[in-house]
Subunit: 482 residues, 2 copies
């Protein structure tokens, strides 16, 4: 497949919005507004025979009336008109289209027939199509936001290729809140022309993309998908949710994107053979994706746990063992080294309980001891609190709420997570953190997550989430070593 | 058990802090600071022979030097001094103590002996003890915050009784961020005197407590615990995490709170027989706890799903089926009624996909149709977005970021969730919502969650989380009907 076919799509220099509207209730209005508000620097051509101007732009009565040839046509007209619009686009020389409109194969035979005509028309002119029945895409490096929701995820390393627009939107929004940003996000809809694996092919060589998150309900061509995935995962990781794994879910998938969900056992085996990392939820998928940006892959299943809270350590040990990790017994040598760093009453076991009296400096050194331990492949760190280089927690309520102190605390968390992450890179063993930000207001916490993301850092929230991230890193590492 | 023994503890009219300090590195300083900052209206007596004044308060050289008798003594002195302090408290007539200090039974034989002496001394004078090796407690209705972290969860309906201070703190902090608030939170530590089941006995009749969240690693007396739980769950729900369910976790629990974790299968059976709701994580526990505040319990396993995003519907259907729910086929009658409310191209299946074109008014009516459907016991609602009564999503970036619009959006979410929750109460069938707040910044989202909590409302984040909440409500309902 020639990946240049994606250039007029994700790097379009000009966009026609067919079905643009002045009516605030219409999707064509919202999409145009988003295209403008996203800061797109290229030419935008609204098309609507009933309007002269829309949102300050000249509106054209038809695609053929547009001066010059737009790279991309975004189509938001009623389903019965779509085939004709695609034909006009082909006649004009437009090379890429996004069909937002629903009402095709997902509704049955008649819709499938229309969908077939639409694709035939497009292919006859070398025009590629996203959709139909989709939510569009984001190409943040180009400031090109073809979408319903009014948020604008900044440019970054995470790609999303999803068979659901709302899943794509949720992932993109979280990537924005976490300060990470996206390279490309795309919702494939009914996949009349471009299939999910086509996007993967593009993303494999997209220099901005470092991790691919993918939500799948089923395949038009399973063999082609996994052949593609096998190529991609040698270059960069794919983290995937496979939905429709139950009878109820499969039925819902059929009505949603006309997908045949297939057997989950077969899917699981195919994922293992092609290096795909499976995630159980969107939260887990995001955590895994962020961790992959900077964390090394573990070389084995032996895990050390360092915790500032006994209960958190117990929950992490439970989760790690259930996921197949070996929560190792610390060698005598390691215990002796930790004895020099931790208060006399530390528990001398794994999890290492950072009892009261541990200083940040010694905690970082203790982490080095753990990472240096020959029977430890990875470390779970629970609570970032005791590693923060801040003083005076015993301050007044007013001082605690001050802007200065707030900024200092955000910085202290970023510094501590950065420190642990550098140690992870240095020792080539992952350090996955799970933490409550005990001192932080909701607003501070949002700032912390955003500030971490800007440095490609991450913390999980709960102990079992850290274990799940580690499991994902392990399975990807095992695949690559095979 | 006479629950009046808890009055000098959770409703103390005066508190001695033994081991109070001017040294900002000491816990005794931080705890005193928190006690003051929390707004405690009773008398506070710092005790430290080396200080005259601490944080503006008169410091006393010993417990016996305090004028009058404090209800409660909080003890933060080195372990070797604790027994002597308890003896002084008993001599003084103090009736409740919290021993923060660690270094007792969790460290082995010698510590266990000290712990035994401490309890013997306390019991000889009718003094009850929390701890040792604990993080204290919050009694927000009394503005009594005996704790390390510097946040102050407001008064509310959620009680926390945990065998881990850090778990208690995390739950209390989330209850604060979510605007819900707590009645009492307590970390039981080594349970030398008061056991986790003693707190449950108190909470069962505490008028402020509506839901009990409990984190357990093991029992001193399992039979007594479950006998107590059976009494409590007839009055109010207990949501529990049992940690230490694996070999690694059990080992960690032993070193953390000297607990014997026991078999998880036995525990599971005992929970079923005593009506305890088990949660898999702290996030799940909180979601379940909040849902119990206003949602009715489902009468059966037949679930309807209403979704504004196809992919979310598929994931919810998967999760619901895996948890034993029946994602029912909609009766013809119900489909006909929905035909009158939804756009012509709706999918006519379960999940009901709220395709573009649905209005908030019709969505609420569609929810009534679902709740009125005789084969539906509960509804999962995915995405609150299309039910929001707001206009003009196609606004400029500046307007979207304005204070007014922000407040309007927060209110719109609260109104919509309130509407669904009232329908749930009216039809006596739960409606559990999972949603991304697509339009919201991180700051707005924090405000939304807080505003929802003030009205005892909740949304889950992810589809599988909504299914897990429903499962918890179902199992509690099934128990109560037995």
């Amino acid at each position: 497949m020639d990946v240049n076919i994606f250039t007029p799509l994700f790097k379009a220099r000009s966009v026609a919005l067919v079905g643009a509207s002045n009516d605030p209730r219409k999707w064509g209005r919202r999409m145009l507004n988003n295209l403008i508000n996203g800061g797109y620097p290229g030419e935008i051509y609204p098309v609507n025979p009933g309007e002269d101007r829309i949102l300050g732009l000249t509106s054209y009565p038809s695609v053929s009336a547009i001066p010059g040839t737009p790279d991309l046509a975004v189509i938001v007209v009623p389903p019965a008109n779509v085939v004709q619009i695609v034909r006009e686009c082909v006649a004009k020389g437009v090379r890429a289209g996004v069909v937002i409109t629903a009402g095709f194969a997902e509704l049955g035979e008649k819709g499938a027939q229309m969908q077939h005509e639409m694709v035939t028309a497009a292919r006859s002119g070398g025009m590629v199509l996203v959709g139909p029945n989709c939510n569009g895409f984001m190409s943040p490096w180009e400031k090109l936001y073809v979408q319903f929701p009014s948020f604008f995820t900044p440019a970054g390393p995470i790609a999303v290729a999803a068979q659901s627009g709302n899943v794509m939107d949720a992932l993109a929004r979280q990537a924005m809140l976490r300060g990470i940003g996206c390279s490309v996000t795309v919702a494939s809809g009914n996949e009349a022309d471009l299939h999910i694996e086509d996007y993967l092919t593009y993303l494999a060589d997209d220099p901005h993309t470092e991790v691919v998150l993918s939500y799948i309900e089923g395949f038009k061509d399973g063999r082609r998908f996994f052949d593609t995935a096998r190529q991609v995962t040698r270059k960069k990781p794919i983290v995937m949710i496979k939905a429709g794994s139950t009878h109820s879910g499969a039925g819902a998938a059929a009505s949603h994107t006309a997908s045949i969900a297939g057997s989950d056992a077969v899917f699981e085996a195919a994922c293992r053979q092609s290096g795909i990392i499976r995630a159980g939820s969107m939260t887990e998928m995001l955590d895994i994706g962020y961790a992959l940006l900077r964390q090394p892959l573990p070389q084995g299943r032996r895990v050390g746990i360092v915790t500032a809270g006994g209960g958190w350590g117990v929950m992490a040990a439970d989760a790690a063992e259930k996921m197949g990790f070996d929560v190792i017994r610390l060698p005598e040598e390691t215990i002796k080294e930790l004895d020099r760093l931790l208060p006399a009453w530390w528990n001398r076991g794994n999890p290492v309980d950072l009892v009261a009296g541990s200083t940040p400096g010694n905690i970082f050194k203790a982490m080095e001891v753990m990472l240096n331990c020959p029977v430890v492949d990875a470390v779970i760190m629970l609570s970032i609190m005791p590693a923060l280089r801040v003083t005076g927690f015993g301050v007044s309520r007013e001082e605690a709420a001050s802007e200065n102190r707030s900024a200092m605390l955000v910085q202290a968390v970023v510094d501590a997570v950065e420190h642990f992450t550098r140690l992870a890179v240095q020792y080539r063993k992952p350090v996955i953190i799970a933490t409550e930000h005990m001192f932080a207001s909701a607003e501070q916490e949002a700032k912390i997550n955003h500030a971490l993301g800007l440095k490609r850092l991450m913390c999980c929230h709960m102990p079992h989430e850290a274990a799940a991230v580690l499991k994902a890193l392990l399975s990807y590492g095992e695949y690559l070593r095979r």
